[in-house]
Amino acid sequence: MYGKKVKLRFLFLTFVLLSVILSAFLILQSLKENVVYFQSPSEIKSLVELEKKKLRIGGMVKEQSILINTTEVNFIITDFKNEINVIYSGAVPNLFAEGKGVVVEGFLKDKNYFLATKILAKHDENYMPPEVKEAIGDK
């Protein structure tokens, strides 16, 4: 019916199309599973259901809230409206200090306790992640 060339072209196009669809599907699927949402302590408080997925929480480290022992670092993140306790074991970046902005990644234990797996390192003393800026408003 069609020439050999047309058939080959058709085969080629189908192949391209299929691989595009397949990779799009894979990427989107994996994206759904692997995104990490960012929330402020106030947003956590207003959660109806406890989030089971990995989260990021940002805000200020409350003054005089850092407690350290051999295995853990405990502190409180505040957005000046609500606070949340963070339990963390792992490496602490240098710019982590009381009264400074911080972003932690981990899982909610309940609405008051957060088990952090990572404190995100930042590069610059004056720099504050836009998320944190937004979370703590104009303060």
Partner: protein, 627 residues
Amino acid sequence: MLASQIGYYSLILGLLFSLVLCAVSIKDFNNIYTKINQNIFILSLLQMVFVIVSFLSLVLSFIKSDFSNETVFNNSHTTKPLFYKISGTWGNHEGSLLLWLLVLTLFIFLFLIKSKDQPKKYRILTLLFQQLIIIGFFLFVLITSNPFNYLFPIPKEGLGLNPILQDPALAIHPPILYLGYVGSSIIFSASLAAVTQNYISKEWGKHIKKWVIVSWIFLSIGIMLGSIWAYYELGWGGFWFWDPVENVSLMPWLTLTALLHCVSVLEKRAALTSWVVILSITTFTLSMCGTFLVRSGLLNSVHTFANDPARGIFILIFLFVLIFLSLGIFFLFNNENNKNVKNFFWLSRETSILINNWFMMYFLSVVLIGTVYPIFLDVISAEKISVGPPFYQKLIVPFLAPFLLFMALGPKLKWIKSKLDNKISLIILFIISVILTFILLRNLTSDLLLYTILISSAFFLLFITLKELFIKKFNNISQTTAHLGFSLLILSILFNGILSSEIITNIKVGEKYKHSKGEIFFEKIEEKKQSNFNSIIGYFKITDKNGKIFQLRPELRVYNQPMIITSEADIKTTLLDDKFLVMNLVKGNEYFNIRYQVKPFMLWIWISVLIFSLGGLMSLLKKEHEK
């Protein structure tokens, strides 16, 4: 002060030369001579000289700590060592753009000298397109980011350079990376010029391939330097974090690698013409997008020097103009010469290169979506998300196995139509790789199946390239070297991932920490004063699992200007593994937070990048030699 004036006026002169160059080349384009007007060379040389003068005067202002210059004031300090005063020139937004401009003018001048055997109209058009980019950058520098702004009253002291940028690897990382980025601008201009002249041919492929290889080498090494720096300076204990800023440099590298391969198809068979042009356009667009994302403050990182929306908007507009212009030209002028379209036989070198390109495009889309999606979502729904390393690992790692296998077999095929020779020896090599991998991995990992498949394909590629190198010496040695380097890279990354171990703990001076594989003893701390920082050195005695004792001395630096604490990891590097120790101080506490890591084959990751860049270099030298 004088230096700033000279620098500023040289920039304006450079811009004027751009306009003159355009006028002269348009005039020259239509005349009957077959040679380019000599004035064009002189004008291009002068333009480059003026940009160099401007750049040098900025360097001079930095060396002399001339704080009447705003850029110097913002980014330098009198107590900074001379080396970092100089590297501070491009360690900031304004200076780094001036460096971009410098490389742009340098490359077009080199292009004019190096392309004497090419048709005149094609060369002039390339020059015109390149001047368009150059004018855009001149305007960008002069309007939104003038490096020579004057400050009055003159401050006594500068604000200093971010200390984590005061590092030898990072001092040379930007210039090298820029050579790669900007090299792609020549490929972009040249391919547009070639499209309008209908000159996408074997000769053009041969000529442009050199530029592709040069950019590719610089981009590879530039990315590697950034990665080395992140490894020892940021103290996160890794070399690649899928950070958006790393991703934007990886994306042009992927398209450039794809281009590198399919330009050979063009060179040998005059096929895939449109694809080569599309890749050239994409590579440069991605480089520009990288600059836009990084500079506009949309991505947060150490590269974001200042969040000035005007700059972002300028680059965005410029970017759109370039994209529309190039696509317009492409669709208007590109007529696929149907006589040239040869059907590929399914088993041939061409097909294998197409497969390479397919994989590259897939990797590119993964990285692109992972990088852009969070920004996109933030803009449309104000939801803040981030896409972590698992996303990339899950989507890229499994596909590496078939990719490596094709990479091993592809070069064995001949052009046009081929059959696979020596099937038996290939199968034997493959079986050896699988068995070797299985023996090595048996007790090491829980994910045995995936890693066995991955590592045996990497070994397979390694063995095949080694065999090529040592047995058939006459073969394409540069390509084999590059593939050998890549297989080593994948092997070292995988083994590094499987075998790495990490201990994180909080420890006081004088304490001992015992763990399953040894012991860490924190002996003492010592304080030292340097010109622009005070350092606290920790003395650690580490006993490893074989009972061997060694010392590591990580350092905390408290910089005076700006007041920042940085950690300097102490790393003991051997061919087999890196022992990495970094300590952090939690303010107002007697505990130090330490992170001790054993990272096998770390050195080999850098070596293998150098090996595949060497492959590129060899191919370049061979081309020169043949002439």
